[in-house]
Symmetry: C2
Subunit: 312 residues, 2 copies
């Protein structure tokens, strides 16, 4: 890489995504200066200990001053308030973007506060782990992942292109779509799966006939994978569901309808209905492996145990 | 290991579990002779090519003749028919066991056919991957995993102990419980999670507003893990749901009730209810990691891609 794409990047929020971006900007020389701001002094101090940036600010407005790229890495529900806070300090010509998992609501919350002089290009990197905080970030998080941009009609093409190159610099492939379509797609591939995972872990915790200790002990048989998803950041996910309400409720209604029909098949011993669905779902899995979104390796959840047997 | 625990083991069925057992019996010297039998000539031939056993039989009765351990590794729904087929050829004193994910129904189906002279000790190794067939097996599958035995009241203690040592020889830790309790535990930690995974993959496939290609493309955000589970063997899982009907329907009813209440919280913007659940589920995840049933490593599904970036 010859010239950095940006002079000064302001990262607002330094959790999993913010800190992973910091690692990327540094490693790939995407900007000359990384300004980090976050609400909690303790988190900011930790970011400094980890040497994630070049300057550290408790005042968000101070961080964005002079920045030609401003990235909001905060839960979706905080985007509006943060934008209001920084609006007056934004440089004309700056690109303002976010990393939120919902786009319609983010656009609604941020846009009214933004001056006409900046380029607003909402973004959503489809990457994450169940971990959070400044220690959770790592450089490879965005590699081979999709990043969806949802620029409003009439957005400056050059600004879109620069942000696209930024995400490509982090290893991602960029896709452009409308906020509404983004929210529908994510409702089914991400939001409803997370809700279901949270829900079954809750159902299991509340049982009287099976102890929580038994649930933990025998979790290897499917449940374990749900608990991983259900360990995701509670604030972020609360905001996602409240902000993408319509699409989530629509997908959830379909899910429940389909589940009721499987329940009926089980009750009446209709094995053919079950078998037909279970066969159909295998084809989708093959599609995902062929698309390089996962490997065909069997996952039995014990990468370490496999080579260093530790008997209990 | 000094003396093999068994003289001749008959493996009826040579899929993921059967072939993994064959690898274990050989590697740990658990028996002198491995007799393999399976219904399809093609599968039997493949088992022979893989050198999984010492003798190969299309006739199950022939395989069990002279065996002091007979393990049914067939889908739960076939256990009754197979038991009927081998009953007359079983040696007095032989231990007859299975590996089915449901125990109440298996006991009901197998027991009536078994002669009084054999020891019937149903078993369920809690281990598996989403793959199936004789090629899918590997030695480490049972390592550090639980194996649940559900011997009927009055079963010979020496027989239970021998089978326990057999599973310990495969690397598992053995737990003993009643068939009914087993079926309740497994309904919540395994059967319902699988049903839900199958269901959401089906719901996603049926959408008109989001294409299947989009679902595959953006699956990294949660959906992908469900497709892995939903790629499990259709016949095995159909039988599981039909055989553990009561417990599955009971757990499913609770799951749907809980989901309806989350749906209501989303509709009415009740963030506290969501946040409270999402926080509670994290504790269960910690329990699972502390119990050594999973690692805390973030899983973002691309072990290979991480080191050998393959851009598409």
């Amino acid at each position: 890489m010859s010239e950095p794409l940006f002079d000064r990047v302001a990262l607002i929020g330094i959790g999993l995504i913010g800190s992973s971006l910091a690692h990327n900007i540094r490693a790939h020389g995407l900007a000359r200066h990384i300004a980090i701001t976050t609400r909690r002094a303790e988190t900011l101090k930790r970011a400094e200990e980890l040497k994630l940036g070049d300057s550290y600010h408790l005042d968000a407005a101070e961080a964005v001053r002079g920045a030609d790229l401003v990235i909001l890495c905060v839960p979706v529900g905080s985007c509006g308030a943060v934008t209001k806070e920084i609006a007056g300090a934004l440089e004309p010509g700056a690109i303002v973007t976010d990393v939120g998992s919902v786009k319609g609501a983010v656009v609604q919350q941020m846009r009214p506060h933004l001056p006409e002089t900046v380029h607003f290009v909402p973004a959503h990197p489809i990457a994450g782990t169940e971990q959070s905080g400044p220690d959770a970030g790592f450089r490879e998080l965005f590699e081979n992942r999709w990043c969806i941009l949802t620029p409003p009609d009439g957005t400056d093409a050059e600004a879109i292109d620069r942000l696209k190159r930024f995400w490509e610099g982090c290893g991602s492939t960029v896709e452009i779509m409308t906020p509404d379509h983004h929210d529908l797609v994510l409702a089914i591939v991400s939001h409803v799966p997370h809700l279901i995972a949270y829900n079954i872990v809750g159902t299991a915790a509340d049982l009287e006939t099976v102890t929580q200790q038994e649930v933990v002990k025998f979790s290897a048989s499917g449940f374990r994978d749900f608990t991983r998803i259900a360990a995701s950041d509670p604030t972020m996910w609360r905001d996602v569901f409240l902000s993408n309400r319509e699409a989530v409720l629509e997908m959830l209604a379909r899910f429940s309808e389909d589940l009721a029909s499987l329940q009926r098949a089980i009750r009446w011993g209709d094995g053919d209905t079950l078998f037909e669905l279970f066969t159909r779902t295998r084809a989708i899995r093959r599609g995902i492996i062929e698309a390089g979104q996962d490997t065909a390796e069997p996952d039995f959840g014990r990468e370490h145990g496999r080579h260093e047997p530790e008997r209990k």
